[in-house]
């Protein structure tokens, strides 16, 4: 019994150690700037949108989807309205070309026929506009691989640094105002040493940025620090 317990414990420790070893070094920073009061009433929700590519934004679709899923997950998860449903319901006012770029465009938008009612029907209180992307900022090393009749293998060492910079602007559609901004900057270096078999030690900066931004956004929207 005791032996089996020890065996399981050592396996768990080995797993944790492997997971730790297989992840690269990551540093992250998160900050928020509050402009107004926030909070969610019963039945209210949020929609996560990417800033328009007409404005040069290149936020990855998988990042937007990741933030939406993370904010909606768990017992404290918020109600997240799928952005394609929202955009289709309000066509053509949230298309990349027509979506308001600043909150001062909101009164004009709300005065358009049917827009305010449709937003109310959807239960959307906040629109979260995501901006930013993940870039490879540096890299180096070399690796060579060869294969022959007797087998193959790689030898060498490579590394690269990724930077994930994202900003989320929160617009309150009930007050037609900017509620604030949450920013995250995650930087990480991945390594790929290879002695016959390459062993990737990856720094998942985008994933880390997604989770950090989602957690902070949830707190930002639900809790009103000014109260």
């Amino acid at each position: 019994m005791n032996q089996a317990y020890n065996h399981n414990l050592s396996r768990a420790l080995l797993l944790v150690l492997s997971a730790w070893l297989l992840s690269g070094c990551v540093t992250s920073r998160i900050e928020n700037i509050r402009e107004g009061n926030t909070g969610l009433e019963e039945g209210e929700g949020i929609v996560i949108m990417a800033k328009s590519y007409h404005l040069g934004n290149e936020t990855e679709a998988k990042f937007i989807s990741c933030v939406g899923k993370s904010i909606g997950r768990g017992s404290s998860g918020l109600r997240v309205i799928p952005n394609n449903e929202f955009v289709d319901a309000l066509f053509p006012w949230f298309e990349p070309r027509t979506a308001p770029a600043e909150t001062k465009g909101l009164p004009t938008l709300m005065s358009r026929p049917g827009v305010a009612q449709k937003i109310k029907d959807q239960g959307v209180r906040y629109v979260v506009w995501l901006d930013g992307d993940t870039d490879k900022v540096a890299g180096g090393g070399s690796m060579s691989c060869a294969a022959g009749p007797g087998g193959g293998g790689c030898f060498g060492f490579a590394w690269w640094q990724n930077d994930s910079n994202y900003e989320a602007s929160v617009w309150d559609l009930s007050g037609l105002e900017d509620a604030g901004t949450v920013r995250t900057d995650v930087s990480g270096t991945s390594f790929l040493p290879a002695i016959v078999v390459p062993i990737p030690l990856l720094a998942r900066t985008q994933n880390k940025a997604c989770n950090a931004l989602a957690d902070q956004l949830r707190l930002f929207i639900v809790s009103d620090e000014s109260a």
């Binding site: 309000l90 070309r97 027509t98």
Partner: protein, 242 residues
């Protein structure tokens, strides 16, 4: 018996060889070839707008029934996109939402036999797309340049409006084919949004309704010269960003 078995064995080997060869040929062809993408009747959502009180007819060019565009990436693969009847469907749905009375007329119909305030003739001036191997990004992009000509009930051209639409989609989120399809659909939605937002400003089409009202009420009060535009400006600022 032994000879028959030998023959069967040899036939089997030959079939296997054929199979392996055909798989290899298919793989090589796939490597050097390209992709063909077909849009299956995409639709735009019902727009949240007030309809213009106009009797409008539209006449589509033949190309709106079958539009195929091919792009050869130099030294690499060949891509083709088949829009089929997507353009016809887009404009029919769009104009049907924009005007209180809308119909499509055939190419052979004589416009003089029909009653309308405006006859719209949309066409495609240019269609282009780029794939990730060209742009060195993960993105597929589609540009469509439409031209909209508008005629009044007397057959006088009142507007000739070129519009440029753009759509972009990432290959990381969708497969390559799906990303190109999505970029094309986004470009068509972009065109629809631009038409909804700018058409009246760019072409003055709503003035034809006033002309219609004036004419039916008191024909004598019809102005001598309607202030209609013969050519709409290309650089009309859009309302993006509101």
């Amino acid at each position: 018996m032994a000879r028959q078995s030998l023959r069967e064995n040899s036939a089997l080997k030959s079939n296997r060889l054929k199979f392996v060869l055909s798989v290899m040929t298919a793989m090589m062809a796939a490597g050097c070839g390209g992709s063909k993408v077909t849009l299956h009747n995409p639709t735009i959502p019902e727009p949240l707008i007030d309809q213009m009180p106009l009797i409008v007819a539209a006449r589509y060019p033949e190309v709106f029934d079958s539009f195929v565009h091919e792009e050869q990436v130099i030294g690499k693969e060949k891509w083709s996109i088949d829009l089929g009847r997507s353009n016809r469907m887009l404009f029919t749905q769009l104009f049907g939402s924009m005007f209180t009375d809308f119909s499509v007329v055939g190419a052979e119909d004589d416009a003089r036999d029909l009653t309308f305030d405006a006859l719209i003739e949309p066409s495609i001036d240019a269609f282009e797309f780029s794939v990730p191997s060209q742009s060195q990004t993960e993105e597929f992009a589609v540009w469509i340049r439409y031209r909209i000509k508008i005629f009044d009930k007397d057959g006088t051209q009142i507007a000739n409006w070129p519009i440029a639409a753009y759509g972009k989609s990432q290959s990381g989120s969708f497969g390559g084919d799906d990303a190109l399809k999505r970029a094309a659909v986004l470009a068509m939605r972009d065109a629809a949004a631009l038409i909804i937002l700018q058409m009246d400003k760019a072409t003055g089409i709503s003035k034809l309704s006033e002309a219609h009202a004036n004419q039916t009420a008191t024909p004598a009060e019809m102005p001598d010269e309607m202030t209609l535009r013969t050519t709409a400006a290309e650089d009309i600022p859009d309302e993006s960003g509101l």
